[in-house]
């Protein structure tokens, strides 16, 4: 931060005039309201999922039946779908995101850096539903007619690439998610790299290292934990992403090994079935899935923030 705000010292006695006292009360009240709001959100999620927790206990996390008619609910297909689609997304997005960040922070000519960084910001600003629309009408047909048959023909001996090519499915979800999280990974990684002190680079360059060697030896190694944080921030996004995934994953509550098969994620089951949940227990089961999602994303984001902070002080998060 360039300028540190200096106001009245903390120890000063309560102000005498009415306006200042009122100001203090109002400001403290707003900050408390923010705290209350977040606590209320967590509390409300827990309260509303209690019926499902009571009815199913730990079984909820370990069974894969999802039968609203008989009211048997198990979250395994959704946990699996969320994990696999997010993992797939990271598999694609991490190399690309880190590569782009290295380009933008280290290797690119100076005049292209700002425009490309702005374009990356725009990629992050595209609404989820538009990625979904594009996924349904462009990506899925492309996968169905070209990519999946080709993958099936060459790598079809692996269980990952077996089964009929629907287009819609886990693979499509992973790719769409990758496109959506890559700008976050790029933006945060770039800030991490920019926070690496120049003395690191100069030392490596002075030893005769090329630009890439400097990046690899001095910059990437120095910013390691921050880059891991950037990846985790991307993961946090991927886990909670709803609309685009709902539109392309196929929405079938099954655990299938093949990436061609339709799946279902925690966020998309909530999006699809919440308004159709006819019984209280059904609704409560969906909210419990929401609670699990909340817990996982809070942990992942918290960890990410700690790691990013560890590199260069609180780095500005990308615009979201």
């Amino acid at each position: 931060m360039a300028v540190v705000a200096t106001t009245v010292p903390a120890t000063r006695a309560a102000p005498r005039n009415f306006g200042d006292r009122a100001l203090r009360v109002v400001l403290t009240a707003t900050a408390s309201a923010i705290v209350v709001l977040v606590v209320a959100l967590a509390a409300e999620m827990i309260r509303a999922s209690l019926p499902a927790v009571r009815a199913f206990g730990w079984r909820f996390l370990f069974t894969s039946t999802w039968d609203p008619v008989a009211e048997h609910f198990g979250a395994v297909p959704f946990l699996y779908g969320t994990l696999v689609s997010s993992f797939l997304a990271l598999l694609i997005a991490v190399p690309l995101g880190l590569g782009a960040a290295i380009y933008l922070a280290e290797l690119a000519p100076v005049w292209v850096r700002a425009p490309i960084a702005f374009l990356v910001e725009l990629v992050a600003a595209v609404p989820s539903v538009i990625y979904g629309l594009w996924g349904i009408f462009v990506l899925a047909p492309l996968l169905r007619t070209w990519v999946q048959p080709a993958l099936g023909a060459t790598l079809g001996f692996l269980p990952l690439f077996q089964g009929p090519p629907y287009g819609i499915g886990m693979l499509a979800a992973g790719i769409i998610l990758a496109i959506m999280v890559v700008p976050y990974i790029t933006a945060v990684s770039r800030e991490v790299l920019l926070a690496v002190p120049n003395s690191q680079r100069e030392a490596a360059l002075a030893l005769g290292a090329t630009r890439w060697e400097t990046t690899r030896i001095a910059v990437l190694r120095y910013g390691r934990s921050g880059l891991l944080g950037a990846i985790l921030l991307g993961l946090g996004r991927a886990l909670g992403e709803t609309m685009a995934v709902t539109m392309v994953i196929g929405n079938r509550p099954e655990v299938a090994l093949s990436l061609f098969a339709p799946g279902y994620t925690m966020a998309s089951v909530i999006a699809n079935e919440f308004t159709e949940a006819t019984s209280d227990l059904y609704l409560s089961a969906l909210i419990e899935i929401g609670l699990l999602l909340l817990a996982v994303t809070v942990i992942v984001n918290g960890l990410a923030r700690l790691l990013v902070w560890s590199v260069g002080g609180p780095v500005r998060r990308p615009r979201e």
């Binding site: 931060m1 705000a5 989820s128």
Partner: protein, 280 residues
């Protein structure tokens, strides 16, 4: 490695990193191009002025959804801006130890909460007590999503106001509250407006939290305690419907939505150009 090999590796890695930068940005161009190609023909005056037609009838528009989105954004702004800006001022100015730390931490936590979870929260605290889906519930959900963005940008920008300005005002004997309202906030105003625009761009496209709060509506909304249409919601509904005509409308809706988001983002970018360099 020989020097020649090292330089070859250097060139290769430079090319790879440039290629990945291109690949990161490429989807934006592909998607925008496709939207223009598919959607431009369906964006006409009717689209902005007419209600959706029933299945089978050609034409019709999303006027109700466009107005609905504006209403929802206005509601969200009305709920989140006072709280967010004052909260940001508090975080920047307070010298307490615990409450600012907690509020800042929780605002960051809230920023990472998936929007669908915020939707559930709005459902249990607004929809259930009111016993119906409503514009209010949708506005509330969007406000919760906007809040942390507004809080953190306001905080940063209030911190950027030079302390000399503040001290000059205080030295003249002006009470703190007046310094805040007449000196600090006006100085930070441009930046705060930018932050608000970024937050608006973000919630304008939100769909997930509206699914079971605003719910959508094929007609004009009557009042704020009734379900209301929204552009992203209607785009979603049309995209997953099995009718070609609706798909065209979905493309058009998406085009209008993305244009809105881009214009707001660009405006925010232009507004901050040259200002506070080194921070953004």
């Amino acid at each position: 490695m020989t020097p020649r090999a090292r330089h070859a590796v250097n060139r290769m890695m430079s090319a790879l990193s440039a290629a990945s930068a291109v690949l990161v940005v490429l989807p934006l161009l592909l998607i925008f191009g496709f939207l223009l190609w598919q959607g431009a023909s369906a964006v006409n005056l009717d689209f902005f002025t007419h209600l959706p037609k029933p299945v089978g009838e050609a034409g019709g528009g999303m006027a109700n959804a466009i107005i609905g989105s504006l209403v929802l954004i206005a509601l969200a702004a009305a709920l989140s801006l006072p709280l967010g800006i004052l909260g940001g001022v508090y975080l920047a100015e307070s010298r307490d130890r615990r409450l600012p730390w907690l509020a800042r931490f929780l605002a960051d936590v809230l920023n990472g909460v998936p929007s669908i979870v915020v939707g559930i929260f709005a459902y249990t605290v607004v929809v259930l007590p009111m016993k119906r889906f409503s514009a209010l519930a949708g506005g509330f959900a969007l406000a919760v999503i906007m809040l942390p963005i507004v809080v953190r940008t306001s905080e940063e920008l209030v911190r950027l106001v030079p302390s000399s300005l503040r001290e000059a005002a205080l030295a003249l004997g002006i009470p703190e509250w007046k310094v805040l309202l007449r000196v600090v906030l006006p100085t930070a105003r441009a930046g705060i407006v930018t932050g608000v625009m970024v937050a608006v761009a973000r919630v304008a496209g939100e769909t997930a939290p509206l699914l079971f709060t605003a719910f959508g509506n094929r007609f004009w909304h009557q009042s704020l305690d009734q379900p209301i249409a929204a552009l992203p919601l209607q785009t979603f509904a049309y995209a997953i419907a099995p009718y070609d005509d609706w798909h065209r409308q979905a493309w058009a809706g998406a085009l209008v939505l993305i244009a809105l988001v881009f214009v707001v983002s660009l405006a925010a970018r232009v507004a901050t150009r040259g200002r506070f360099t080194g921070v953004r």
